[in-house]
């Protein structure tokens, strides 16, 4: 009995020595396992400590920011809040004005001849793009009143004369789908190249094939003497009349075709791509018979 009691009494100083050694261990040697032990203790304490915290919150609620303010300071606080709100509203309205100015500018850039053939034009915002395919069909958000007028084949332009694509399918709800001109599903497009130094000339007819990488390629006679930067305009009766003459893009590069030395291959890239703009202008074609000048035909 005495021996066991002596052993028990010896255990305590040994425990203290071990505790001291552990207490003096550097942080890197002790953090992980001591953290685990603390976690176990916390698990046991958690249910009732929550109740204690709730009781504490009830006994001493968290101070409110306005509790300690005098009446004058409260008034000042309200005035400052009103000022911040007014500033936020001012910036919101300024952004709205800039947006409307941009839309007006877009609409004013549409050639009068195109407008004569169109029944109306509306601004549509890009609502969604395909996350994996920048050339894929995009969703446009339409204004409430414009949904009924828009249908398949309605063209989308940017900066008045740059053709971006056309609507595919019927609008659903307040959205519709726009297929970019560079989308491979659009197929070949007939266009006419106008040299930069003779923009009003006859031009050279060519057939543009989408490359699938946001550009077109085409074969043209070398006689045409084309240069980089020359403009291509739509000349394709399968597209609506409102789209005729719209800019498809500019020549990015010319390459001599080795198999046909009298022809050269041009790469045409649109000046604006659908994935780079926030909104487009939809030009709604006048129904057939309303205007004789509307020469567009439905695509096959």
């Amino acid at each position: 009995m005495l021996r066991s009691r002596a052993r028990f009494q010896l255990a305590f100083p040994l425990t203290l020595i071990v505790t001291l050694a552990v207490a003096l261990l550097p942080a890197s040697w002790r953090l992980s396992w001591q953290g685990d032990l603390a976690g176990i203790v916390q698990i046991f304490l958690m249910p009732f400590s929550h109740a204690g915290n709730a009781l504490g919150g009830w006994l001493r609620p968290a101070p409110s920011a306005v509790d300690d303010l005098s009446a004058g300071e409260l008034d000042l606080q309200r005035i400052l809040e009103d000022r911040d709100l007014a500033r936020a509203e001012y910036h919101r309205q300024r952004q709205r004005v800039a947006e409307l100015e941009e839309q007006l500018r877009q609409l004013q850039q549409i050639p009068p001849e195109t407008l004569r053939m169109a029944s109306s034009s509306v601004i549509a915002h890009i609502a969604a793009r395909h996350p994996l395919s920048p050339l894929g069909v995009v969703k446009l958000k339409l204004l409430r009143g414009a949904v009924g007028e828009i249908g398949p084949n309605t063209i989308a332009v940017y900066a008045g004369v740059h053709l971006l694509g056309r609507v595919v399918g019927e609008p659903s709800g307040s959205t519709c789908s726009l297929r970019p001109i560079t989308n491979p599903d659009t197929g070949a497009i007939r266009g006419r190249v106008f040299p930069r130094d003779d923009p009003l000339g006859v031009g050279t007819l060519t057939l543009l094939e989408p490359t699938g990488a946001g550009a077109f390629t085409a074969e043209v006679d070398r006689e045409a003497v084309l240069h980089e930067g020359d403009v291509l305009r739509l000349d394709d009766r399968r597209w609506p009349a409102t789209a005729q003459g719209m800019v498809l893009g500019e020549i990015e590069s010319l390459r001599v075709n080795d198999q046909e030395p009298l022809r050269e291959t041009i790469t045409v890239r649109p000046v604006y791509q659908v994935q780079h703009v926030a909104s487009v202008t939809l030009i709604i074609e006048r129904p057939a018979g309303d205007d004789e000048s509307a020469g567009g035909e439905d695509p096959p």
């Binding site: 305590f12 203290l16 505790t19 552990v22 009781l55």
Partner: protein, 189 residues
């Protein structure tokens, strides 16, 4: 001493320490509930039992004390409170023969003294860690002396708390069976 009763009270006081203490904080000073139990057990329990109880309570206090290093919480440090509470309890064991143990005032004064003594050990160990390369224990931007003064405030505040809790603890003393733990040894011998 009945260890289950001790475990129950240890749990209760730890819960109070980690939850209700925050409500009672005055500036940088908050009272300690656990030290009141340390003092109570040291006043009444047999010598070795009291020391073991102090060590266990200190160990649990260490595990419930998150340690800051700069702005980061680096987890607990086992040892400072375990050793500090043993030192505080030992001091009471040396003095208790001269005390009126059942008085609430005794418990209050001894709580303040015991926690001050324990703080010496705790601050010393923390200070040693401050000398280690890469370890800078944060004491609310204070030097060890400043931290010691803050803990003196904690000790006084805990003494006031003991004045309220003490009578309740003394009232539960029969349930603890402090004498029963020591008497059998005497009887058997």
């Amino acid at each position: 001493m009945r260890w289950p009763i001790f475990a129950l009270f240890a749990y209760l006081f730890l819960v109070l320490e980690v939850s209700l203490r925050n409500v009672l904080i005055l500036g940088p000073v908050g009272p300690s509930f656990v030290i009141v139990l340390v003092v109570f057990v040291s006043l009444f329990a047999p010598r070795m039992t009291a020391l073991w109880a102090c060590w266990i309570l200190g160990l649990l206090a260490d595990l419930c004390t998150p340690l800051m290093q700069g702005a980061d919480m680096v987890g607990p440090l086992i040892g400072p409170h375990a050793l500090g509470y043993v030192f505080g309890g030992y001091l009471i064991l040396q003095l208790r023969a001269m005390l009126f143990r059942r008085r609430a005032l005794t418990l209050a004064v001894m709580t303040a003294i015991s926690l001050t003594a324990a703080s010496l050990v705790v601050v010393f160990i923390y200070a040693v860690h401050g000398w280690y390369p890469g370890e800078a224990l944060a004491w609310a931007d204070m030097r060890p002396v400043g931290e010691l003064l803050r803990r003196l405030g904690v000790a006084l505040y805990s003494g006031l708390l003991a004045l309220l809790i003490g009578p309740v603890l003394v009232w539960t003393a029969p349930a603890w069976a402090f004498r029963a733990g020591s008497q059998p040894h005497m009887v058997r011998r």
